[in-house]
Every structure is written in C-alpha cells, then in structure tokens.
C-alpha cells in the first residue's frame, strides 16, 4: 500500500510551517505509517500548479488563492485548517499621516501578488478606493520578498505578516511607535490562511482519504507540540533549513507569533470563518476574486475522522 505523502509548502522553510516539520522529526507521521516529503516553496512556486501537475498530494494555501484556482477549473478542496486567524497586515510609516484606510488615497502601498493580492484588493474595493494610482486611489507596487520598500521609503505602507516581516521591520531598528499597522483581522476583512488542500478527484479514493486522515492527525499533533515548545520547534525548523540563512532568534520569534494564529484550532475548518472569507471576497465589487459562492470547496470528512 502506498503510504507516501508529498506536501507542498507555499514559502521557504521557516517556522510558519513548524507543525509539519515537528511531526516529521518527532516521528508522528511514522507512527501513522506515513512517509512524508515536505517540499519547500518559494517566490516562483504556485502550489496549485504543483498539485495539478501531480507533484504533490497536498498543498498549503491561502483560501482566496485556492478558491480562485477552484474557479479557474482546478477543483481543490480544503480538508483541514490549522490556522484559524490571519497574520496579514499593512505596516505604514506613522509620519505619512495615515490613520485609517481612507488615508491610503494618494499613497503608495506594497502588496504581494502571486495569488496573495486578493485580500488587499477586496479590502480596497470594500473601502471604495481604486487601486490604479492617482490622487484618489492608491498606487500599488508589486512588493518583492522583503521589507526594503518600506525601509527605503519607496512605499508608504507594505504588506507584512505578524510573524515575519513585521519583526524584520523592527529588527531593522524601527521602533513600533514610528509605525501604524492595520491587521486584516481588525479591519474585518481577514481571510483564512495556510489551509491544507487536496484535489477533489483524489478524495473519492478511500485509500487516499485514509492517508489524509492520518496525515492531518499527525500534522495537528505536530502543531500542538510546536505551540507548546516554540524553542524546540524553531530548532527543528532550523535543522531543516538547507540555506543556512535563518537565525535562531528570528525563528523563535516567528514560532511564538505563529502559535497565536494556530491557537485554538484543532484542524477542523470553522464554517463561520469560511463564510466570512467568502463574503469578503464576494464583496470585492469591480475586481472580484470569485464571482460566485463556491460549492464543495471544503469538506469536514477528513477532520471528522481524524479528530475522533
């Protein structure tokens, strides 16, 4: 019987994915009889594409991106949601005078694209702010991989994750009171992040379902362990980072912040969170991410069984 599972991450090896690495290192997958391969992501990797190409059995993805892929004809289904709140935020220089979303008009804002622009676009269209520049709208920059645009003052605000880029801004010597931050959570436009997604057709196969049940169970065990042991989890992540570029301090802090996003989630998707995400996306007026409420985009069969 085939017990191999390949998981495609959506970014490079870091504490954002600690649960999976911990499950791997602590032998939780092995206990479930699984042979798991974790594929790191990167700026150039679209996890849905890898999934479609058969390069992975499961992927991690932000829900807006996955739902949009679903509408594009790639039937992906959420089988588990270890993150129950969003870490996405905008970080602005206080001295630009930005105090609320309406102050974004006429400003330059860095946004991640590659399928990660949807939350921002929905938010702006809910605020009624055009995103094509000019006095009344915001000028959008496709943000690279780091916080330089803010530090170099090429942008007034940039996208940051609570657990990563925000810390980098602080590390660069900026104090918190020089900054204004807008968490998507606080603005009521939060969308779900880092869910586990698989191809719909695979779910029809009972063997595959069984494999995923074991996978989710083990992964959640990993997550809970990581939440409780941030120091050790960070070390495990570091061991798995082949670039040798990460620092321990950074990963420990990231783990601590990540733990806040996974806290309280047992892996099962909360339907209310799902609905809020869909509503936010549908509210996106002129530039809709999805045009209609998706059907069958998530299932609880895996988590139901895994959590028994």
């Amino acid at each position: 019987q085939d017990d191999a599972v390949t998981l495609q991450l959506q970014w490079v090896t870091q504490a954002q994915f600690a649960g999976y690495y911990v499950a791997q290192e602590k032998g939780y997958y092995e206990e479930e009889g699984l042979d798991v391969t974790i594929l790191p992501g990167g700026p150039d990797i679209a996890p849905p594409q890898v999934l479609a190409g058969g390069g992975a059995d499961a992927m991690l993805n932000w829900m807006p991106s996955a739902l949009s892929a679903r509408e594009k004809g790639l039937p992906v289904v959420n089988i588990a949601q270890p993150f129950n709140s969003s870490g996405l935020m905008l970080t602005c220089w206080k001295d630009t005078g930005i105090e609320g979303p309406q102050d974004f008009r006429g400003k330059t804002i860095g946004v991640w694209f590659f399928g990660n622009e949807y939350p921002f676009l929905s938010w702006m269209s809910q605020e009624g702010i055009p995103t094509d520049g000019g006095e009344e709208g915001v000028t959008v920059l496709k943000q690279g991989f780091n916080v330089d645009p803010l530090l170099q003052r090429q942008a007034d605000c940039i996208s940051t994750m609570t657990y990563n880029e925000y810390g980098q801004v602080l590390d660069a010597g900026v104090s918190e009171d020089e900054l204004t931050t807008f968490r998507y959570e606080d603005q009521g436009v939060a969308t779900l992040e880092d869910g586990i997604w698989v191809l719909e057709e695979n779910l029809e196969d009972p063997d595959f379902r069984d494999k995923m049940v074991r996978f989710v169970r083990a992964s959640m065990k990993g997550w809970k362990y990581a939440e409780e042991n941030p120091q050790e989890a960070a070390e495990i992540v570091l061991e798995n980072d082949e670039t040798g570029a990460q620092t321990e301090a950074h990963q420990v802090r990231m783990m601590t912040e990540i733990a806040k996003l996974t806290a309280g989630s047992d892996g099962a998707l909360d339907e209310a969170d799902y609905q809020r995400t869909v509503d936010t996306l549908l509210a996106g007026g002129s530039d809709p991410v999805i045009s209609a409420a998706p059907e069958g985009a998530w299932t609880s069969v895996i988590t139901d069984e895994a959590l028994q």
Partner: protein
C-alpha cells in the same frame, strides 16, 4: 617523498621554467588588475557614503543627534548626496558599518565572504563553498548539454537549408521566453514524469547556454574562406570531413568566445533553476534567502561567490582556449 623516482634533468628544468613563466605572467597580469581593483575599491567606499546616507542619518537621529532636515518624511525626497552634505558627520561616521546597508562596504562583504567560506567547514549549510558546490553540479551538466546541443544545432543549421530557415527563428524565439516564467512549468512537468533533482536545473541551465553557442558557431562554421572550402571540394571531401578538418578548426575563435558567454549563462541558469525547485540549497537559495531577509551583506557575498565561480569557469575556458590554440599553432 623520498623514494620519488628521479626525473630527467630536462623535465625538471622544464617544470621550473614553466613555473617561472607562470610567475612572470602573474606579475605581468597582476599589476594592472591590482591598480584597477584599487581604484574600484576607492570608488566603492566613496559611494557607500551617499548610498547609505538615509540610514546613517536616521540612525544618528534615533541616537539623539540633531539632523537636518529633522523628519524622515522630509529627508525621503532628498538625494543621498544632498543629505551627505547636509549632515557630513553622521553620514560618514556610520556609512561603513550598517546592518542593512543599501551598499555594503567592501570590507563588510569581505568579512562575510571569509566567514562563510574559510570560517566554516565546507560541509556546513552555512558554508558558501558547500552552496557553490550544490550550484556547480547543474551548472556543469547544463553547460555540457547546452554547448553540445548548441554546436549540434549550429552544425545542422549550417548544413541544412531547411533547418537554417525554419529552426533558427524558433531557436531565437525560445530565448525570448523569460526563463523564470517557464522554469516552474518545466519543473512541474518534469516532476510529473518523475524527473527530479539535478536534471531539471541542468535543463534550465542548458536552455540558457545553448543559444550563445548556436549563434557563435553558426557564424564560426561559416567563417572559412571560400578558397579553403573549394580546396575541400576538389578533394571531394564529405560534409563530415569538411566539418572536422576545416569548419571546426576555423570556428574555434568563435567557439571560445561563445563558450565563455555560455558558461556564465549556465551558472545563471542553475541559480535561476534553484528558485522553482524550492530554493533549498545553492547560491540561488542563498541569494534569495538574503534578499528575503534584507540581508544585503549576505546577498553581496553570495553574489560575489557566484561571480567568483563564474570568473573561475570563464578562466578555465580561457586557459583551455590558450592551450588548444597554441597546440594548433594558432597563437602568434
């Protein structure tokens, strides 16, 4: 060492003669390089001051110094040079020691290079040498595939009018496709047929390196003078013969110029290929990680590491060129 066989006296002279020659060559070459490098370093240090002025002044402000203009928002629209003149003290004092400089000072890069090469065991993930090794494998394989393929294509194009007319335009078109855009697709497609690891990266690197070779070799293979070709015709030499005995030797200057470009392109290809394979290790991964965390010094040292590898590869080709051409009596 003691029971080393006695070598003929002539051989010994030959060897020391060669060493002497090499040393002379170095001295010959060394002076100008050192002079140029010295000038560049001086310019580099100078450039650090205005380049890093924003940050220097900001740091001074945070440390409590009085700076002009007083707010970062006002300073933002000023050029680095203007800011340097407005705040000469802060700008110069901390230009060369920042954590995230826009332009790191040469010694910062050197120190980082030292720490990540000599300062690490080469099997460590923090060793640049290890990463260079990871990148070198697909580079060399890709270069091999690329130059063989490029040469074969050129041979086909020179010998077949159909290929000349139909393949060349599409070879050109293939190069205008941004590799970074299709690299992930190549990886995904290869992955789905079970090919992973070295080969996908080597293919990307071959994709970038075959073209300079094709372009150069098409020209080179057509370079023999008409009279030289006529001679072959009077002997009724076969196409293959003419290729081996005339076209290939005559194309060597073009070949080597192309190979130098191609090997550099191969390295770039291998580095690019690392990104869509998860950028787990290699110089590309280092570069990416550096830029992801805004570690300018780390980027620069990885960049220099890559350039050193490229320069080394180009130098190997230049040496081969010299050896081959002098063996063929073509150095005058």
């Amino acid at each position: 060492m003691t029971d080393m066989p006695l070598s003929a006296p002539g051989a010994a002279i030959g060897r020391s003669g060669r060493v002497a020659l090499a040393i002379r060559g170095l001295r010959h070459q060394g002076g100008p390089i050192l002079a140029v490098v010295a000038v560049l370093l001086a310019l580099w240090y100078l450039a650090c001051i205005p380049m890093n002025a924003q940050q220097s002044v900001l740091l001074a402000e945070r440390a409590g110094a009085v700076v002009t203009p007083a707010t970062a928002a006002e300073r933002r629209d000023m050029g680095g040079l203007a800011l340097t003149f407005a705040n000469p003290g802060p700008a110069t004092s901390s230009a060369f020691a920042q954590d995230r400089p826009r332009l790191p000072a040469p010694h910062q890069v050197a120190v980082e290079l030292w720490n990540t090469t000599i300062g690490q065991s080469i099997t460590s993930k923090r060793s640049l040498v290890w990463h260079a090794g990871v990148t070198l494998a697909p580079t060399l394989l890709g270069f091999l595939i690329g130059s063989v393929l490029g040469t074969l294509l050129a041979i086909g194009i020179v010998h077949s009018r159909v290929m000349d007319l139909s393949v060349m335009p599409w070879a050109i078109a293939s190069q205008t496709i941004p590799i970074l855009a299709i690299a992930p697709m190549i990886i995904v497609v290869l992955n789905s047929i079970g090919i992973q690891g070295l080969l996908p990266k080597a293919i990307i690197s071959a994709y970038l390196s075959f073209f300079p070779v094709t372009v150069g070799m098409v020209k080179g293979l057509r370079a023999p003078a008409p009279s030289d070709l006529d001679l072959m015709r009077t002997w009724n030499a076969s196409g293959l013969r003419t290729l081996v005995s005339l076209r290939l030797p005559a194309s060597l200057p073009y070949l080597f110029a192309s190979l130098k470009v191609a090997v550099a392109a191969s390295l770039v290809g291998a580095i690019v290929g690392e990104l869509p394979t998860g950028a787990t290790a290699g110089l590309g991964a280092r570069l990416l990680a550096g830029s992801y965390y805004g570690q300018t010094v780390q980027i620069w040292s990885a960049l220099f590491g890559a350039a050193i590898v490229a320069a080394g590869l180009v130098a190997v080709i230049a040496l081969t060129q010299r050896a081959v051409l002098s063996r063929m009596g073509l150095t005058r």
